[in-house]
């Protein structure tokens, strides 16, 4: 049995096809999900891909968060469905309060596209088990609104509970508090991050590295083991 991983397309999603390709390259079956459908087609996990859903108008992720698909997704995520939010997907997850904090415009006020060095702080989530804790990886980053903010109490709590999953190394590309690049919920099934693992799955293409592939193999192993 192979795992079926859904990828939601919102109007303005950009990396939905790339995410499907990454899922395929990892050996799982990508399933296209449509924002107007409440039906998750019984997938085993869901990725909310990058892009500018609804143009990022109002606030990144703010309008998508009210899509029909999100009604179901919010319930199922709370019940344990593995969910990964990449970039715009991360923004949707914070707007939906599945993850704490909020995303704001980069502190330098520009879009930034770079091959970003990260440290994997938590290799225990559904999406990071194929990494080692402390491992340093390079993953492309590209966003306008990547500055993670939360109040001090929330930040302390995230740190104390090991819920900071990725941290920026060398350069903090957007002014995120405590260099946070990605976080998880308390249960470890919902993960959001700004960099784009789906753009680091093939040699030659994009950054030319494959440091992003373990995201997709991690979830595949977990799902296959569970079935």
């Amino acid at each position: 049995m192979t795992a079926r991983i859904g990828v939601v397309t919102f109007p303005g999603s950009l990396d939905d096809r790339d995410t499907q390709r990454a899922i395929r390259l990892a050996g799982a079956e990508p399933v296209a999900l449509w924002h107007k459908d409440k039906d998750l087609k019984q997938v085993d996990a869901v990725v909310l891909p990058g892009g500018f859903s609804y143009g990022d108008y109002l606030r990144a992720g703010a309008i998508s968060r009210f899509s029909p698909v999100m009604e179901t997704l919010i319930d199922q995520a709370k019940a344990g469905l593995p969910v990964l939010g990449i970039c715009n997907g991360f923004q949707v997850l914070t707007e939906a309060h599945l993850l704490p904090g909020a995303m704001l415009g980069n502190d330098h006020l520009h879009f930034i596209c770079r091959d970003q060095k990260l440290r994997v702080e938590n290799a225990g989530t559904a999406w990071t088990s194929d990494y080692e804790a402390g491992q340093e990886i390079h993953i492309p980053l590209k966003n306008m609104d990547g500055r993670y903010v939360a109040d001090e109490r929330t930040l302390d709590e995230l740190e104390a509970e090991g819920r900071v999953v990725f941290r920026y190394l060398d350069v903090n590309p957007n002014g995120s508090l405590r260099d946070i690049a990605g976080i998880t919920n308390a249960a470890g099934n919902v993960v959001g991050l700004m960099p784009h693992p789906e753009h680091a799955v093939e040699p030659l293409i994009g950054s030319g590295r494959t440091d992003g592939l373990p995201f997709f193999t991690s979830i595949l192993k977990k799902l296959v083991a569970a079935s």
Binding site: L14, G55, D56, H108, F111, I112, K142, H199, G206, S207
Partner: protein
């Protein structure tokens, strides 16, 4: 004014219409009256005036542009040529590629962010209208002096606008240019190019045929923006002092355009579309008259059915509005419902506004009254054609006589070193990373090469690895010294950039940016540049598939440098064979391909060190360019080279420093016999590249070049890595990578961040 119907116009021949305000000349207006056999209605006048503007009719440039057709080389690759929204080229395996470059210069000066953003939006709609999925964009840009205060307003806005629109559309930005020169102070050049990919059978053309077929407008509602923009924009010298003449600027909505892309492609996939046209300059006037005149029948349009953003618009304004993100499709009646359903799925507003008729007239109705009744060809294709006078300016001889080769050269190794640092840190030669990192290179997951490689490269087939490459180049300084040669140098450089990455150059698009065509000197530059480009394309076997002309780039009497920007598209069978710019491995041998002569006219060195522009540009030898290209392509295919970089502005030392910094590897260079260090490092002779060769391939590579007659010179070795490694010109100076990185990479952030 009350509604001016066709009937009314026939009855009131003496009513004066404001043709001059709409940008028409007296004889042009008289010609309209002659064509119609009566005075035009207000709506007809609106249509003729925008469609006969310089921007839409190419009235000053047409007679010269013909050469691209007349001198077109025989090419099997050409599927659709000049005249359509964009040209289409066969790249093999059943794939076709469409690409084009366009200008959005004037609006970007007035409102940098929106002007540049809507420039990207417009060129991308041209690509969709051919039936293709857009896969990448490029942005050749030119600004005034980097340290001029107004450049700090214009550049960041333009860059943010290009990024804001392209990033939001999900199109990787894979190349372009950034050039600073005070001649562009009041006329920055914002050119934008796009590439799209489709299967051969999916090529669509802008034509309305089949009586009874429906005309559907879809996308954004029509608003009052950009009215008259097309004519006023393109036919008057832009004059800062008269705000009333400022062209209206449109605000773009990239999100809407992304939806347009998706729903258009879905409609294509289901074969629902007979003909299609984007709405750009001249809006509905252009789309309906072009669709109708390219098809077999006529067209009837109910203007009341156009979805409006502002209900107070007059029919004339609706016809002229340049609201962004709109398209027009011709659809068979039985397929209309499905077409509308797809639009609905993507939340795109779509409305049937008319149908194809079996007559030959374009008829437009408003509130039940006929307000336009024209032969659409007369609007779309029979615009005025001018043979503008042209003459070689009298200052040209003096300019050419002011020989840059006679400028004082560095007298010592220290001075040479200081000049190298001055060059690599000068705004034109410095790293453009601060700009290009504001563009998404990764989206769509097919980017093989992007900035700062010699050309951008996109994989188009995941299985076979088939890919396309594109490079854009232009050098206004060379073109000013000699427009014929300058245009050929732009072509040669873009061609070379494509070949350097291992792709075979196939076809050309261009964006010709010049001053006022009413100035005979400018017109001469324009004519010469076209002649040069057409001759060059014929010789290289790369046809011009389309392009764009931007005139009136001028502040008062002062025109910009003549600036033909050339885009070359190439194909590579397997992107795994691409050659990058960065040095890969220590110990590899560095070879210089081609001949180095004392050529400093228009060079970066003459500009940076002496603030000088004079003499003759480098000599062009297109046969040599072609040979060099063949060698670079073979060498990449056969795995003989690991890195390659073409030589252009700044000469050899600039190229070596870039390859070294990118790879994090040093280089030891030896000045070859017969050359002095200065000429070796700074000459800008064309037809050259540096390659890095594994030692095991040296013999084979030399044999290949020897057999084909390409001069090659061993100039050094890749040596050392990390920040302490150096670019070391033996017997002259050494500069550490750390030092070079600061010099090269901190200039633009220092000015603009």
């Amino acid at each position: 004014m009350s509604l001016d119907t066709v009937e009314n116009a026939s009855k009131t021949p003496d009513v004066e219409l404001p043709w001059a305000e709409l940008g028409l000349k007296k004889d042009e207006y008289e010609r309209v009256v002659e064509i119609l056999g009566r005075r035009p209605t207000g709506a007809e006048l609106a249509m003729y005036s925008v469609m006969w503007s310089e921007h839409c009719s190419y009235k000053s440039s047409k007679v010269h542009l013909r050469q691209f057709g007349e001198k077109a080389p025989q090419s099997d690759a050409m599927l659709v040529g000049i005249g359509e929204n964009a040209g289409v080229v066969d790249v093999g395996q059943g794939y076709a590629v469409t690409f084009k470059v366009e200008s959005h210069n004037h609006p970007s000066y007035v409102e940098p962010y929106q002007g540049a953003a809507t420039g990207v939006g417009g060129i991308v709609r041209d690509i969709i209208a051919m039936g293709a999925r857009p896969v990448a964009v490029v942005d050749p840009l030119r600004f005034g002096a980097a340290d001029h205060p107004d450049t700090k307003r214009v550049l960041p806005g333009v860059v943010a606008g290009i990024g804001g629109y392209g990033n939001c559309l999900g199109l990787p930005n894979i190349g372009g240019e950034v050039v600073f020169d005070s001649c562009y102070q009041g006329n920055p050049l914002v050119n934008a190019g796009a590439i799209g990919v489709m299967r051969h059978e999916d090529i669509h053309l802008a034509k309305a045929s089949g009586a009874g077929n429906k005309v559907i407008m879809y996308g954004a509602r029509t608003g009052g923006d950009g009215i008259g923009g097309a004519s006023i924009l393109a036919s008057e010298t832009f004059d800062d002092a008269k705000p009333s003449k400022r062209p209206a600027v449109q605000v773009g909505d990239p999100f809407q355009e992304k939806l347009l892309i998706e729903c258009t492609l879905e409609a294509f996939a289901e074969k629902l579309v007979v003909g299609i046209q984007d709405l750009g300059a001249a809006g509905i006037s252009c789309a309906t008259s072009e669709l109708a005149s390219n098809g077999s029948g006529g067209m009837r349009v109910e203007l009341d059915d156009v979805p409006l953003r502002d209900s107070t618009l007059s029919p004339e304004e609706i016809l002229m509005s340049e609201s962004q993100e709109r398209m027009c499709a011709v659809v068979e009646p039985s397929k209309v419902d499905r077409f509308l359903e797809i639009c609905e799925k993507w939340d795109v507003i779509a409305t049937v506004i008319g149908e194809v008729t079996d007559g030959d007239r374009l008829e437009i109705f408003w509130h039940g009254e006929k307000i336009v009744d024209v032969d659409p060809r007369t609007v779309a294709h029979d615009g005025p054609v001018y043979e503008r006078p042209y003459a070689r300016p009298e200052w040209q001889d003096a300019l050419q006589a002011d020989d840059a080769n006679k400028l004082p050269r560095p007298a010592s190794a220290d001075e040479l070193k200081a000049q190298v640092l001055a060059l690599v840190s000068s705004p034109n030669q410095a790293s453009k990373k601060w700009i290009t990192q504001q563009y998404d290179h990764f989206v769509q997951g097919n980017t093989v090469l992007a900035q700062p490689e010699d050309s951008g490269m996109i994989r188009i087939d995941e299985e076979s690895g088939l890919g396309v490459a594109i490079a854009t180049d232009g050098n206004g300084r060379f073109a000013k010294l000699d427009p014929y040669t300058g245009a050929q140098l732009a072509l040669a450089e873009a061609y070379r950039n494509v070949a350097t990455t291992g792709a075979k150059p196939l076809a050309v698009s261009d964006c010709l940016n010049f001053g006022s065509p009413e100035d005979p000197a400018v017109m001469w530059q324009f004519a010469e540049a076209i002649r040069g480009l057409a001759d060059g394309c014929l010789q290289l076997g790369t046809p011009v598939t389309g392009g764009n002309v931007s005139l009136y780039n001028q502040t008062g009497e002062a025109a910009i440098h003549p600036t033909p920007v050339v885009a070359v598209l190439g194909v590579i069978d397997d992107v795994a064979r691409r050659t990058p710019v960065a040095f890969q491995e220590e110990g590899q041998l560095l070879y210089l391909l081609g001949d180095t002569r004392e050529e400093f006219g228009g060079s970066a060195w003459s500009q940076v060190v002496h603030d000088h522009l004079g003499g003759l540009p480098p000599k062009v030898d297109l046969e040599r360019e072609r040979l060099l290209g063949e060698i670079l392509i073979s060498a990449s295919r056969d795995g003989m080279i690991d890195a390659a970089h073409d030589l252009s502005d700044g000469g050899l030392i600039q190229a070596v420093i870039e390859s070294a910094l990118l790879g994090g590897k040093g280089a030891r260079l030896v000045v070859p016999d017969g050359l002095d260090a200065f000429t070796f490092l700074f000459s800008e002779s064309a037809g050259r590249a540096v390659v890095s060769i594994p030692r095991s391939e040296e013999l084979r590579f030399n044999d290949m070049c020897g057999a084909r007659g390409l001069p090659v010179t061993r100039i050094g070795v890749v040596d050392g890595s990390g920040d302490a490694a150096a670019v070391d010109v033996q017997g002259e100076f050494a500069l550490s990578l750390a030092e070079l990185r600061v010099a090269h990479e901190e200039t633009l952030p220092g000015i603009f961040a």
